[in-house]
Structures are given as C-alpha cells and as structure tokens.
Symmetry: C2
Subunit: 157 residues, 2 copies
C-alpha cells in the first residue's frame, strides 16, 4: 500500500463513517486515477461514495457502485489506469462493475467479515491488495452485530 492507497482508503473510510452515522451500512469506496507517477500529487480522486441501501432504499448503491456513479461518464482508458479502494471485499455486482470497466487494481480494507468476488477478480488478472485494517473490521463487525437483517439483505442472503 503506497501513499495514494493510504489516502484513498482513508477517503473511503470517511464515507463509511458518514454512512454509519446516518444509520446506514458502513461501506465506502473511492476510485483514484493514477498520474504519470505514483506520487500523490499526480493522482486524481475521480469519485467517492458509500452504501446507500438504508438511506436511499437502494438495492444497487453499494460503496463501489456509488463511487462509480459519482465519477460520471469516463472513457475506458481512464478506468484502466485507476484503483478502486473499498472498505470490504466487493460483492459479485461490484466485482462485475470492476471487470466491466477493466479497473486493474483493487485495495480492500478488510475481508475477515465477508468475502465476495475476489477469486473472480483474480481470475481476470485484477491485482488485489487486502490491507486488513482494524477500523474497517470493527466498523463492519459493529454493523453486522447491530443490524444483521439489513446486512443479509445487502448480500442477498
């Protein structure tokens, strides 16, 4: 995890905390475009978002989808030089969105609480970095303990 990943994960975490404060599912995400180098000053945060199942009665606004939506319309080449930062392991819908746009790199805050489509991402050559971040784990653990029905609904269980 380099400096831009650290900034991206902290940005996603801020969105997750906001969602949790609103009573929502604490998963945030950010899409960051890399510049010509790995320097932070060469990167762009294209979009950020958080799960809005509870806030917007949405079945599709997971963190990653919300971040992609926040980006608006982008050319294929932009996605292909970007990293998706997300608090938790991406579900199959978000996995599919990452594959559709050929996003080559995904940084995952934690995957102890749940594992989504990581194998599918890997089979398409997507680089996955699992940070195993303590706050990401605790936030998700707290939500699952407090609202198990809403969590199950979000993962189609």
């Amino acid at each position: 995890m380099d400096a831009i990943d650290k900034l991206g994960l902290a940005t996603a975490l801020a969105k997750a905390r906001k969602s949790y404060q609103e009573g929502g599912i604490p998963i945030g995400a950010a899409l960051i475009h890399h510049g010509s180098s790995t320097a932070v000053g060469d990167a762009v945060v294209l979009g950020t978002g958080h799960n809005s199942r509870i806030q917007k009665s949405s079945a599709t606004l997971h963190g990653e989808i919300a971040a992609l939506e926040d980006c608006g319309r982008l050319k294929a080449g932009v996605y292909q030089k970007s990293t998706m930062l997300t608090l938790n392991s991406p579900c199959l819908m978000c996995t599919g969105a990452i594959l559709l746009y050929k996003i080559p790199r995904v940084v995952i805050g934690e995957n102890k609480n749940w594992v989504g489509g990581e194998d599918l991402l890997k089979s398409h050559g997507v680089e996955i970095i699992v940070v195993d971040d303590e706050e990401c784990k605790k936030l998700m653990e707290a939500f699952i303990r407090e609202k198990p029905d809403e969590w199950n609904e979000d993962i189609g269980e």
Copy 2:
C-alpha cells in the same frame, strides 16, 4: 417464453424505446416476481428501468441495474422467485447483480449485437432464455451505428 415473459419483454422494450427517443442507449429491463403459478395474474412487475448513461451521465445505470434500483429494497426470497427480462445480453456488472441476488432466470431479447456474462450466469445455474427478437436487434443495431463511441463507453471499450 411464456405469457409473463412476453409481457415482461414488451415492458422492457417500451423502456428501451423511451430511452432511444431521449437520445439514450436503448436497453430496457424489468424484474418480474412469479406468483404461485405461471399465470400472468399471479405475477408482479417489481421494477423497470432503462440505460441512463446519456440521460443522467451515469456509469452504472444499465437497464438491469436501473430496474433493480426501481424495485427498492427486497428480501432475498423475492429475488429468488423472479425473472430478469432485458433487451440485450447482460454485461458483467449486471451479471454480477443477478448473481448477487440469486435471480434464477434471465430472458434476453437478443444477443447478436453483443454477448456479456452469459457463460458466468450459466456456470452459476441461472436459466437463460434468448428470444432473438427482431425489434430488440434492430434498435440496438441502430444505436451502435449512430453512436458507436457512446456504445463502446457503455461496455468499457
């Protein structure tokens, strides 16, 4: 294709025509819940939608995602007794959404213009019915001919 599929595809087609009239990508979709029988009177159209890339500068509102969004929050068991009707072969994002919610059946208007994640759906046991509908084919052909850049953007190319 039974009567409820016919109604569902016609409903999705109406959404696609609307999108095309707005200058948008002509892909519509509908999610239909089956009742206790295959009779039309026992079914419910839970949600409908169309691709809104152009209309809403959206990178995620493909027809199927828009239809799922239109449904709002549903329990897992509802999706598991539903059919997704869509004009064209679902992309990997929409495929992933169908798999997330374990929708067991997908009716596709046509897949001559483009093929998305059908193999992945089949590998998860999803029943796929390709109608090979003439109007679906012509609508998509017309859009791809008229706006090739927008179409490529929509499929991440």
